[in-house]
Amino acid sequence: MYMEVLDGGFLTTVQDLGRMGWQRYGVAVSGVMDAQTATVANLLVGNDRNAAVLEATLRGPRLRFHDETLVAVCGVGIDATVDGMAVEGWRPCLVAAGRTLEVRSSARGCRVYIAVGGGVLADRVLGSQSTYLYGRFGGFHGRAVQKGDVLQLGAPTGETQERMRRLRRQEAFFAVEPRWAAGHSVRPRFAPEGSVRFLPGPDLSRLSPDAQETLFAATYRVSPSSNRMGLRLEGPVLQVRDVTEPVSKPVTRGTVQLLNDGQLVVLMADHQTTGGYPNLGQVFLVDLPQLAQAKPGDRLRFTAGSLAEAHRALRERTEGLRVLEVALRLMDAYGWRESRASV
């Protein structure tokens, strides 16, 4: 089972949920930028949550499937076709052998996840198949996929096979999707000028009260120099009151650093393990998918939140994903409702 890359798109990499446990050696966690969307994509095709998917940034890839494959395309504002026929996404899609999936850039979101039944089989390095571009390892030979690459797929699970069997009953030439889709409650909430919740960090008090007010009042624009390491934001210049050079400390996914030029960067999947810039706070883990979906030029604001709120929101999202997983299993066992509905 394999798929061939006809066009790699802007930046398409193999990612799973990340390379945990090696940060003490300076190794970035990596993994998908938007774990929520990638998890939904994997659940829809009957995969394990940690199965490797393709993460497409801005303009997506063109992929030809050598064998009949169950595929899920998930993201914000999907614009995808199979041999020219539009597919809607956020649902399993049975793509016939020899057909080509094309994921174009969306006017709204930044990252689209393509999960295939059985998962992508790629280089497993230090326990993860995630591509770490900077270190050039993991995933597809440590780099983005490009024209001519052939990606191996894993063996479909029983769930994958069951869903393929059900979709195969419908006569289809190119691809067939059910009429139901994953519900909006399990998709990342995304608004072009949305706010993300923020936990105060150790160096927030080094800003003057006025500057702290500015941080929460301002609207920030996502800079084109953002990447998988971090989202650079353009907004009012902030300065810390003292000039002492802080000793480098550990940072986490979501840490908001204040750079020397007074601008902010939010650390994302490929972030470095330690940092010397002032740490103003951390974006809620549960709100990071919103940042992962923000394109250069999109605007966002910060709102202060509490640790209890962050954990409550994370538990709610996890519960939602669990409900989706159970609903899919029940449908496999008792039949699919063919009316247009969401699970």
Partner: protein, 244 residues
Amino acid sequence: MNEAGAGHPVVIEPLGDHAVLIGLGDEIQESVHGRVKAVCDMLDRSSIPGVVEWVPAFTSVAVVYDPLVTACSVLIDHLRRVLADLPSLDVLGGRIVDIPVCYGGPFGPDLHEVARRCGLSEAEVIRLHSEPLYRVYMVGFVPGFPYLGGLPKRLAAPRKRQPRTQVPEGSVGIAGEQTGIYSLSTPGGWQIIGRTPVKLFDPTVNPPSYLQMGDRVRFCPISEETYHNLYEAAHDEAARGRPM
């Protein structure tokens, strides 16, 4: 709150919603490093529910946890109990690792500049730089990058005004009172005085980092010829062990 080693209180506080930061001091010094090392050894030995991994730095350790498995307050209580028995590591051991370095020439384009600034000959810079036993305070920033403490103050040199867009892997540099080795080819602003043929990071071996926190490093000057021989040996071996 307990007291350990040099008398700094151990401060444990949330670092975002999926990590806590254990603060062990304010300054970069051997005694604080000893406590960082002791905390990591302790974490290695204990199994605390929900702990995913930990990240040591100069004066602190971040403990990454899964908030779906443990509550932050439960984790902090657990860490306080575990750290109450924190031994004071006044006498530090540590593996001594020799790092061969070819100084100057094409491998150390800033050696001349560093010597001029410090009012020393190039040979004196090499002698001073390869004299001390440096301490690996932490491995971080990028995979395998060692932060070394113990540079002779006479060799302190500012960062370059214009950072290089690409510093080759293995480059040995000076920035302020720090010295370090670029474990990957990256952009960088340190003054480059030499290069080592040793591979500092190899994701196909465990641990992937050649140098570990707590190690002591001695730089050994080598000739260009020795550099090339050692480079080939190190990289052939790596190529054989590498999966597709």
